[in-house]
C-alpha cells in the first residue's frame, strides 16, 4: 500500500504531473513578461501546452552514428530527478518528520542530474555544436556549484549543524527565517544568481546561446525527446524558487509563500530581460571570484552570528 502511494505521489501529486503543469504555466509567465518588457503582446496562456502537444506529434529523429541509449538517457535523467525532487520538497515542507539524515545532500545531487543529462545527451548527438554546448554546460556547472555549495554549508551552520531538510525548515519556523540577517541576504543574492544559471537564463544561457551555437546540446533533439527537455526546464523553474524559499525564507507552509514565490520569479525574469549574455570565461570568473568571495564572507558572518 505504501509503495502504491509512493508511486502515485511520484507520478501525479506532487510529483511529475502537478509540477509539470504548474511549471509550464510559469514558462508562459516568463514569455509573457518578457514580451511586455519588449513592448510586445506575447503568446496566449495555452502556448506552452500547445508546444508540448505539438512536439508529441512530431517524429523523433536520431542522428546517424549517435548512441541511441545515451541519446534518450539524457532527457529522461533530468525528468526523473526533478520528479523525485518535487516529491521531497513538498513532503518535507508539509510533514517534516519524514525527513531522513542527509536528504539535503540527496537534493543537491538531484539538482546536479539535469545538467549531467544535458551533457550526456549533447555529447551523444554527434554534432559539433552540441559538443561545444555540452562542454560549456560542464564548465558552467563547475562554475556555479562552488558558491551554491558554500551557501548550503552556511545554511546548515545557521540551522545548528543539521543536514535534514525538514529540520532546517522547522528551525526557521521556530526561530524566524534565515533571510532576515546580513549573511542571509548575501546568501539570497547568491542563491538567486545560481538559480539563474541552473535554469540557463540570460546572462547565463551560455550553453544554448541561440545566436552563436543555435541551441547547443539540444540542437539534434526533436519530437518527444525535446518535449521532455522542455518539461524538465519548466519543472526546474517551479522547483528551484521553492527550494530557495524552503532553505532561506521559512518554508512553503502558508499562503505568504505564494507571494514570496511570485517575487522570486519576477526577479528572475527581470534579471533575464535586462542583461546581455556573458562569455563562458566571464561567467567562470564571476562565479568563482566574485560570488565565491561573497559566499565566504557570508560564511564568516554566519559563524560570528550575524
Amino acid at each position: 500500500m505504501n509503495l502504491i502511494k509512493a508511486i502515485l505521489s511520484l507520478l501525479f501529486f506532487p510529483g511529475f504531473l502537478f509540477t509539470a503543469i504548474i511549471g509550464m504555466f510559469l514558462t508562459w509567465v516568463d514569455r509573457k513578461v518578457s514580451a511586455r518588457v519588449q513592448m510586445r503582446v506575447g503568446p496566449p496562456w495555452y502556448q506552452p501546452y500547445a508546444d508540448f502537444f505539438k512536439l508529441l506529434l512530431k517524429e523523433t529523429l536520431i542522428p546517424e552514428g549517435a548512441s541511441k541509449v545515451l541519446f534518450y538517457l539524457g532527457p529522461i535523467l533530468g525528468l526523473i530527478s526533478m520528479s523525485i525532487l518535487s516529491v521531497m520538497i513538498f513532503k518535507m515542507n508539509f510533514s517534516p518528520d519524514g525527513s531522513f539524515v542527509g536528504d539535503i545532500i540527496v537534493m543537491i545531487y538531484l539538482l546536479a542530474l539535469p545538467p549531467i543529462g544535458v551533457i550526456i545527451g549533447g555529447s551523444a548527438s554527434k554534432n559539433p555544436l552540441a559538443s561545444v554546448g555540452a562542454s560549456r554546460e560542464m564548465t558552467q556547472y563547475f562554475a556555479y556549484e562552488l558558491p551554491f555549495l558554500v551557501v548550503i554549508a552556511g545554511i546548515v551552520l545557521k540551522a545548528g549543524g543539521t543536514i535534514k531538510f525538514g529540520e532546517i525548515i522547522q528551525w526557521q519556523r521556530v526561530n524566524g527565517p534565515f533571510l532576515y540577517s546580513i549573511s542571509g541576504i548575501i546568501f539570497a543574492i547568491i542563491f538567486l544568481l545560481v538559480i539563474q544559471a541552473k535554469l540557463g537564463f540570460v546572462p547565463f544561457d551560455i550553453p544554448e546561446a541561440e545566436q552563436e551555437i543555435m541551441a547547443g546540446p539540444y540542437i539534434e533533439y526533436s519530437g518527444v525527446a525535446l518535449a521532455i527537455y522542455k518539461i524538465t526546464r519548466a519543472m526546474m523553474l517551479f522547483l528551484l524558487p521553492l527550494f530557495m524559499i524552503s532553505l532561506l525564507w521559512g518554508g512553503i507552509g502558508d499562503w505568504w509563500a505564494v507571494l514570496k514565490f511570485l517575487l522570486i520569479i519576477v526577479l528572475i525574469i527581470l534579471i533575464k530581460n535586462t542583461n546581455p549574455r556573458l562569455r563562458i570565461d566571464q561567467a567562470l570568473k564571476f562565479f568563482w571570484i566574485f560570488l565565491g568571495i561573497l559566499s565566504i564572507i557570508g560564511l564568516v558572518l554566519t559563524v560570528n552570528g550575524l
Binding site: Q38, R40, P43, F53, L61, M214, A215
Partner: protein, 139 residues
Amino acid sequence: MGNIKLWGLKKSPWVFHVAAASCNNCDIEILDVLTPRWDVERFGIVLVGSPRHADALLVTGVLNRKSLPRVLRVYEQTPKPCLVIGVGTCTCHCHMFEKSYNVVGPYDKHLPIDVYIPGCPPKPEAIIMGVVKALKRLG
C-alpha cells in the same frame, strides 16, 4: 488525442529560415515579422536555430545548382510533419533569373511546397497571411 496534437501543431508552428541564395530582401522582411511591431509570438510562431526543432521551413530565393542539395538536405533533416512555405516571387517561378545558366528550375520540381507568398519582397502582413493559409491546409 490526435486532435489535441493537431491543435498544438496549428497553435505553435516553429519556423526555420532557409535562405537558398536569395537577394536578402525576403530575409529582411521575414526578420521584420519577428520584430515587436508585428510580433508573431502572439500566434506561437518562434524562429528556431535548428531544422530539427522546426515545423515550417521558410524558403527564399532562386534554387541554383549549389543551393539545391543544401535545401533538400535541410528538408530531409526536418522531422515530419513539416510545412514548406515559399517566400517571394523567386519561389513561385524563377523570376528574372529563369534563363540563367545555373538555375535548376522552380521549387515544385524538387520539393513539395505548401504555400507560395508572391511579392518582391512580400509585405510582412502577406507573410503572416501565408503562414495562416498553410496552417489551414492542415485541417
